[in-house]
Symmetry: C2
Subunit: 757 residues, 2 copies
């Protein structure tokens, strides 16, 4: 058990490293040659200069020392942009994402104050740990004196903790309710004020049944002419262009190499660069690089042209799915929400994702296969979560010194050296685990992809759920019970269910210092490292040196990155859970969490303004998931508190505490009913309002032309994969901005919350 | 543990009593004066004579002895009616309901054959119970020799049981799948071939928000004119006529009494009957009965007229709900399935129930209250299920001899007699429980009503779920673990979760004989008693004697009853579960279940043809519930088998067995996705087909007139509460019967199944 001194030391180290990161960032960002790493968003927006605007004088290094003095002034700048502008600049997804941190701050700041005012004095006067018997017990420190461990067995003071737990839960639910309401309002206003977009008129139709007499396209047309006679406008079939897409991607890669050698040759015209034709340019015969790549690219271009023609002409390349567009938003809203035929496995309709959000390869999975894939992935997720240690342990057992000696005997003299040996022994076993954890989000994303979701945004949301489960079981419970998830599972099965919560609950106070350290390392230094963007910095300069010829190339060399919802949101949830678990038990942990939320809010606000470029815009469709997971954390904390108190001689409190999770779950269901449909359904009234307005403003709009090429596989659209060109096609004369406030936001209480809006 | 002789005796007794019931029924049904008790359905249909048709000669007693000889010929007669005619005659709900019994027969008949061919020999040769040690153990009987108890500890023979369990599960799932598909097809054909009905065009709109400037009616009209401009036709507001309805009901009751005294006076004109004005005609001053009731009824009539006017004129009597009708079925289908505004708590639309199916008093519950009520009822259900023994034990402790002596000392001499004393002591404690169990379905129904469902059919379905839970925990688990549900709950909490299934699993073989007896008493004799309709017989003759004056009165005196879905379906589910639990363990139980299903199928087929009058027609909307509960029983049986085998030295089989419930649950989800939407959604294609046909056949139909009074509170409709007059208003020239087969039924494999259709 760490003492106050240990914690202080750790805090000092982490504060210093955070400060070092921030300092490095402050210096690097002021150098003009890093401008594209730290302000790519502005380049993408077309506002070329960095936001400060005056530093373009010198080309590479900033010599204006006055700017170094105010090295932290990006912080107020990040907070300065008002929310409506932020939404306009970075999109609703990003603006709402950083509100998760704000929500954490809003929840835990008052809880911290209250806990320090009430619980700390109560715990301090508990005096259990000051008795001689306890004093001898060296596992207790000063931190425990202000935790629940200091309360005597069976004391009445536990009622204070129970009362506070109720207050904390109530405050959390209240904040969650307000935030859900607020974000629902933001989403509705966002959707209402949006410009005309192809997906507003379009429905994704899947599982079109085969017809012996008609092609897929004809069949679709006839079906919708019959069943939506007044509203059907047109449709766009989906081609199976996966092969073509891979050719295009391959070609793009080769062009990169071609440019690289071209540049090399231009800088040093004396020797023509050479390469080898085999594996990765290392094996095979030596050839002239520029000629080689020119010929290979020519070959691929021919292949591409043939395949392109093939896809368009071959009727079998049309998959049984299509994007069907309607004359009005009302018509599309109706079609997306209704069932078309009595067989629910065919003619499935759902609101079309944005064109750039579509996962093209998943559009044509048959119904049974889809179900089977989901079963398979559920089972896999279970095994991944509970048994991932088995293959890693196996790899670890192979990757030891003895094994290395056997396989690479020539390394013997090196690794026999004591310093290197200890390094290898200390480092190797962890390596397999580190690599696994690094690739875990990608595994999970692949699993979600296999499950057949049709939009990137739903893939992200789904992967986040999986990752949350993994973190909950392997990081949180794993740290508390200290054992592998598989051992926990065994415990969970073998112990009575009450016993399990008791075991976990009673271990929790002892783990407080561990989690405090974790928060400082992962939450403070980790977040500070995020702003430095070290890997992007290096990649950009490498690319800039070797590949960039034109401004356009430099543009492409930027990697603005984006909010990785699938991995970062579940991590935030861990902080929510830690806060809730420790709030009534060891309140000393709370300030660390509050600092994390405030700091992370600032950092990410800066990042979404200056750096990240969003991949898609889902209109904050992830909020129901965030809400649900916060509630889950809260319920887990309530159950663990029950377990803890029942080991402290307060069994009679169980009845009082059991109402808490029930009420919380009910609250969740209530909120779900109240707000969730705003995130999954499409009210007809709102569609009607936009239709009517549009008809009044642009009576002669030719929607057919507007939608003509909206949902074409990106590979047909200039050959650039994953480039949201279509979105940029939007008209510049938008629809009148509807200032109409929704029912929700017109109520007075929400105005307080959305004051900045 | 009962021996084979015990079981045989019990079987003989139950067979005899069943036979006695059937005999009594056979004799009573042939008497013309019982005709209205045993063939009310035909009277309601207007086909007056009993189906045999020749017995109307003698007025009271049937003297044609030849008919007595063929006293069982109702059985083939019941099976004779082909299914399409049955649907036409008794409705789809009833026709599908009896298919539950048929499904049970189809599932368990082959399982029984297989179990007797494979498992019985395997168990018989197990020989554990023939070892001297076991032979001394008196708790084993011959029945156990063919149960799994006869297999030695850790034997490899258990693999046979596991294999059979997989085969049984597979066969059950296959049958369930075929049946679900078949019933989905039946429902779709039924809906497609239905005549024009008001509810096809109508949507129930609830939670109409208040508007400061407009009345509810105007607000609704404006809203739908704006948001469904092409489809909105008209609407009907809902009045809060609860008070009026109670006046009408009171008046009807008084009229009954008036008629009773009138009859009495007519039969004996010498003395005018008298009554007392106080409590139930027992206390208070003595008055002339006919004059008294005439004046009271006059008073009530005036009150009724005043209230009637009041309701129609008072704007506050209009509740914020309405039945909105559309020009086409397509328009109604769209409105029912879509969300109207961005606030999901207002303008809630759902497909309107049939007029006779509406629960009028539940139409106006606000959103929050509805949620709160559901929470309250869930908690109540939990307490009712687990703690119902507490108040009953309390009542029982009061209702003993000593307490009676104290309260009614004058009874002392009587109850001190040994025979009476022992009767009271044996009878009283059970009485409280019996009364509770009798009223339980009504409690549950009331609870469902409080939850705010808007149709009788959904109330029935909801109550069935509650009752199933109660039976599962208190009858099934209660019999197996022999303890109150509360003690089970404690065990469940205190034991490790595996231990609980082990305990239950290992007790199961020992309870086989108990359940065999239970099946015979409840399933054989109970069902045979059902056909006798003893209580209806008595009530009818009492009413006939005292209240009936006209043919119309006699019509009213008939109480055809109906299938009590809420209570009888959960009971069938118990048989499904028993069958599944015991199939791999004690196959001797299976024949009893098969006989039950076959016998009940016949009885209830007879009843729905000749007796029951359905209250509403939901188009077999309950099937997803039935399917889900059979699956639940199957999963429980699979888990219990796992528990049992792990106590028999076959722990290593757990991994093989655990896949079973996972696959079964996946199968359930798969079926749900495949078929459930046919029971909850309304495909646009089908609506369009009917609309188009109708437009072609009756181009001049005035829908407005047709729907004018469809959804008027029944109290305004001739003052008769709960009489489905509106339904009879249907045109006699129906729409062309669409012979169009759905996608589902056009596939070849379903044709085998629906051969009789």
């Amino acid at each position: 058990m760490a003492t106050v001194a240990d914690i202080s030391l750790s805090a000092a180290i982490n504060l210093l490293s955070s400060l070092a990161f921030l300092l490095a960032f402050a210096i690097l960002r002021l150098q003009p040659f890093n401008d594209r790493v730290y302000f790519p968003k502005w380049y993408l927006k077309g506002v070329r200069g960095s936001p400060t605007g005056s530093n373009v004088v010198k080309k590479f290094v900033n010599l204006d020392f006055r700017t170094y003095i105010r090295f932290l002034n990006w912080m107020p700048a990040a907070l300065h942009m008002p929310e409506p502008e932020l939404i306009d600049h970075a999109g609703l997804d990003s603006a709402v994402y950083i509100r998760i941190y704000l929500l954490g701050f809003k929840i835990f700041a008052p809880i911290t104050v209250l806990a320090f005012m009430v619980l700390v004095p109560v715990n301090w006067t508990g005096k259990t740990l000051e008795t001689p018997r306890a004093a001898k017990d060296l596992t207790f420190s000063n931190i425990d004196k202000i935790s629940v461990s200091n309360i005597p067995f069976g004391s009445n003071k536990f009622w204070v903790h129970i009362g506070m737990s109720y207050i904390f839960s109530f405050w959390t639910c209240y904040s969650l309710y307000k935030e859900y309401k607020n974000i629902t309002g933001m989403r509705l206003r966002f959707l209402a004020s949006e410009r005309r977009r192809p997906d507003q008129f379009t429905v994704l139709v899947r599982n079109v049944p085969p017809d012996p007499d008609e092609s897929v396209s004809e069949h679709i047309e006839h079906f919708f002419y019959v069943n939506h006679p007044d509203h059907y406008l047109m449709h766009q079939v989906v081609y199976n262009a996966n092969k073509l897409a891979s050719i295009v991607a391959q070609k793009k890669n080769l062009i990169n190499w071609y440019v690289y050698y071209q540049n090399k040759f231009e800088r040093d015209p004396s020797t023509r660069p050479t390469t080898r034709t085999g594996f990765m340019g290392i094996l095979g015969t030596k050839v002239d690089a520029i000629d080689y790549y020119t010929s290979v690219i020519d070959d691929l271009s021919k292949q591409e042209a043939a395949e392109r023609e093939n896809v368009v002409k071959d009727p079998n390349a049309v998959v049984p799915a299509a994007f069907v567009s309607f004359k009005t938003r009302w018509g599309a809203a109706v079609c997306a929400q209704t069932q078309q035929t009595s067989d629910p496995t065919i003619w499935l309709t759902e609101w079309a994702p944005e064109p750039r959000d579509v996962v093209w390869e998943n559009l044509a999975i048959p119904y049974f296969e889809l179900n089977f894939r989901r079963l398979l992935m559920s089972v896999s997720l279970f095994f991944l979560t509970f048994f991932f240690m088995i293959p890693i342990a196996f790899v670890q057992s192979l990757a030891n010194i003895e094994a290395i000696k056997k396989v690479f005997p020539f390394l013997m003299p090196i690794i026999e050296k004591p310093s290197i040996k200890s390094f290898v022994q200390g480092f190797l076993p962890g390596l397999a685990l580190k690599i696994f954890l690094m690739f875990l989000p990608r595994f999970l994303m692949t699993m979600s992809k296999v499950e057949g979701f049709t939009s990137l945004s739903s893939l992200d949301r789904r992967s986040a759920s999986k990752y949350y489960l993994f973190i909950l079981i392997n990081v949180f419970l794993g740290s508390v019970i200290t054992g592998t998830a598989f051992q926990q599972l065994q415990q969970f099965i073998d112990l009575p269910s009450t016993e399990f919560t008791k075991t976990v609950g009673s271990t929790i106070p002892m783990k407080a210092t561990f989690f405090i350290t974790y928060i400082m390392v992962d939450g403070w230094s980790g977040i500070a490292g995020e702003i430095l963007r070290l890997s992007s910095l290096i990649t950009f300069h490498l690319k800039n040196t070797f590949l960039v010829k034109t401004e356009q190339d430099r543009e492409n060399a930027m990697n603005p990155g984006s909010l990785e919802f699938a991995t970062s949101e579940p991590r935030i949830q861990l902080y929510f859970m830690l806060g809730h678990v420790y709030a009534p038990i060891t309140p000393i942990l709370l300030p660390f969490i509050v600092v994390f939320f405030a700091f992370a809010y600032m950092i990410f606000r800066h990042q979404i303004i200056n750096v990240y470029n969003q991949q898609y815009e889902s209109g904050a469709a992830f909020w129901p998931d965030v809400h649900r997971r916060v509630i889950m954390g809260l319920v887990i904390s309530q159950i663990l508190l029950m377990g803890l108190l029942s080991t402290r001689g307060s069994e009679n409190t169980t009845l009082v505490l059991i109402a808490q999770p029930i009420l919380t779950i009910w609250f969740h269901r209530y909120c779900k009913g109240l707000f969730e449909s705003a995130f999954v359904k499409f009210p007809l009234e709102d569609a009607m309002v936009k239709d009517t307005l549009e008809r009044a403003v642009e009576p002669k709009l030719n929607l057919r032309v507007y939608l003509q090429n909206a949902y074409v596989h990106p590979v047909f659209n200039g050959g650039e994969f994953e480039k949201p060109e279509i979105i940029d096609d939007e008209e510049d004369n938008p629809l009148i901005q509807t200032k109409r406030t929704t029912h929700l936001s017109s109520k007075p209480e929400s105005d307080n919350e959305t004051g900045s809006y």
